[in-house]
């Protein structure tokens, strides 16, 4: 089966895709890394490096096109500008791996951003009573708001079998409305320096949001590649029926991926508030599209079970680098949108060719 190569662990998830009608053997506990066949491994590397090479090519082109692109300051900027979309896209990867989609992340960004801002503001009129609270409170509140939104979507998708597209479309609208109700449609200004640190601070020159992105990536990589839960996610996405019959609690898995996506959207919302210095009710509009784009460019299949979080990170970096490079060259943002569109479709076309054409 051709798409072995794009998934990990290779002997599960993808091998039970319905198109193949193969008997389902999902979720074994053995260490899958040892089971790699030589040819599979080669294929995996080619594909992994394919997206990585595309990224490097972009970097090389931009380095030659603009003298400032490869400066330390700009590299830091690109990573900073990628951090929010990167965090969202990693959460989106979990959901898409189970054949789901989370359209609500942009609205959840705004809701978590403004609620966490309201407990972290020194403004007497914009905050809740007692604000500002210690930064830990602000961060917990933001995460909880995100996870609460994710839980609602998760329950609706997993328990009530509502299509993810519909459930999260509802959450997209509801969370935006709640944002406007909560903040009265006004921004929440004057956040405490401690809260703003997560968006503007740095550790030995590395911006705090970049460190957070790295931590989220590392944790997600570990979950998806090294834990039973991660393998179950691939199994549920690869063939939900087979996963269920083999004893996986698919409802629980599908619920949890939305909680993860919501929680990460909450984190992204706090990063955005901390970065801009205020909770903005109009924040995050259409962010879900960039997150989905990063996942798709990174090679994760929208039909579930196939994909890697490393690809998602590179996908997010490609989008970030492209926007940054075109800004540096003074090219109108309209061209950026056209290029991004071409990139998304191109990436999926390549993926299709690889999976079914070759």
């Amino acid at each position: 089966m051709p798409n072995h190569s794009s998934t990990y662990p290779p002997e599960q998830g993808q091998s039970v895709r319905p198109a193949t009608e193969e008997p389902a053997v999902p979720a074994q506990d053995n260490n899958s890394a040892g089971g790699w066949l030589g040819s599979d491994r080669r294929r995996l590397m080619v594909q992994e490096y394919g997206i990585f090479l595309a990224f490097l090519l972009l970097v090389v082109i931009l380095s030659f096109s603009n003298e400032f692109f490869l400066t330390a300051g700009n590299i830091s900027n690109v990573l900073l500008q990628t951090s929010i979309n990167g965090v969202l896209a990693i959460g989106m990867t979990f959901v898409i791996l189970t054949r789901g989609i989370d359209l609500s992340v942009g609205s959840v960004v705004a809701l978590a951003g403004i609620v966490s801002a309201s407990v972290s503001t020194t403004s007497a009129t914009a905050g809740v009573i007692g604000s500002p609270y210690p930064v830990a409170v602000g961060l917990s509140v933001g995460l909880l708001v995100g996870m609460a939104c994710g839980s609602i979507s998760g329950v609706i998708v997993s328990r009530f079998s509502v299509p993810a597209f519909v459930a999260t479309l509802g959450m997209l609208s509801a969370a935006r409305g709640l944002t406007l109700i909560y903040g009265g449609g006004r921004p929440v200004p004057a956040l405490t320096p401690a809260f703003r640190w997560i968006g503007t601070g740095d550790v030995v020159g590395v911006p705090a949001p970049v460190i957070l992105l790295a931590a989220v990536f590392a944790l997600s990589w570990w979950i998806l590649n090294r834990t039973r839960f991660g393998r179950y996610i691939y199994a549920v996405g690869g063939n939900p029926h087979a996963a269920k019959t083999s004893g996986i609690n698919t409802i629980r898995i599908r619920f949890l991926v939305y909680v993860i996506s919501g929680g990460l959207a909450g984190l992204a919302g706090m990063l955005l508030s901390a970065r801009t210095g205020s909770g903005l009710p109009q924040a995050g509009v259409a962010y879900e599209l960039d997150a989905i784009a990063a996942v798709v460019i990174g090679g994760t299949s929208l039909s579930g079970g196939v994909g890697r979080v490393t690809g998602t990170l590179i996908g997010a970096l490609i989008i970030g680098v492209m926007n940054n490079g075109l800004d540096l060259m003074g090219i109108q943002s309209y061209y950026q949108q056209v290029l991004k569109g071409a990139l998304i479709v191109g990436a999926v076309m390549l993926d299709q060719k690889r999976n079914f054409g070759a």
Binding site: F68, N74, N77, G185, P187, T276, G277, Q282
Partner: protein
Amino acid sequence: MKKLLIALASATALLASSAVAQEKIKIGAAPYGLNAEFMQIWAAALQEHPAVKSGEVELTVFDGRYDALVQQDQFKTMITQKYNAIIFAPIDVDAGAAAVQSAVDAGIPVIGSNTRVNSDQLTSYVGSDDTISGYMEAKAVLDKIGCKGNVVILEGPVGQSAQISRLEGNKKALAECPDVKVLEDQTANWSRAEAQTLMENWLTSHPKQINGIIGQNDEMALGAIEAIKAAGLDEKSFAIAGIDGITDALRAVKAGEMTSILQDARAQAQGALDLAIFQAKKGEYKPQSDIWTTYKDMPWNDGKDKNYNVPWTPVTAENVDKLLATRK
């Protein structure tokens, strides 16, 4: 039926002023959308109008939800419910014209406010000329940098009437300073976050070259300030200006970080409401809002003018505290 109508009409005429004073006037306000701070101040100002507070006028505000079609349907509602006058801030210059026409056909006067509509059927329009604010903010930036150096422009969504007019004003001011170079000129869609990213990248590609930042609204100017701070530069060494006078911008003006040109939502709203009541009462009305005494440059003129231009107010260190006090 006809006889009955005549009888009713004459009865009304007989009772004249006393009866009219008793009867509540129904006025509908149709703003394009209530998600942003400006329109919220606008809508709140309507509710605070003396005629609404005294109960003389029954006011309903319809949220247009940034959709021309939604606004059109709201007009239908107001026509069926026989509103006496409508205050209209359309989302779209052209799409709003049909809605105005339908109301006028039903005999309901429509007063424009804040945003323009391509229709000669508006009884009056109360708004502020965006070319003037565009000129004023660019002038403020250029004056501060001494009419030489480099500037960047953060534009609104290209094609929106405010973006077109403000850019026209920006360019008029820039033409007076031929030595000033526009290094970059891009849209950040009125968004603080987008402007911040754009500015970060511009600070990289034009190191130590940018002297002035013309933000076509306050949100984008504030985003630029954050980018400058994040880059470890001193925002006070830049000349930065925005438009609208939103609360965050007032605070930034107070901190000496930027200049803002206040668009008076309250005057636009209350002025339009006075004109709407004036029309609903067929001229038997004296304006009640204090804005007519505040703005000497905008006389009431017996409610007869087609256009009422609410002046722009530059926010300065002197008036910023007073303005901040009006924001709760």
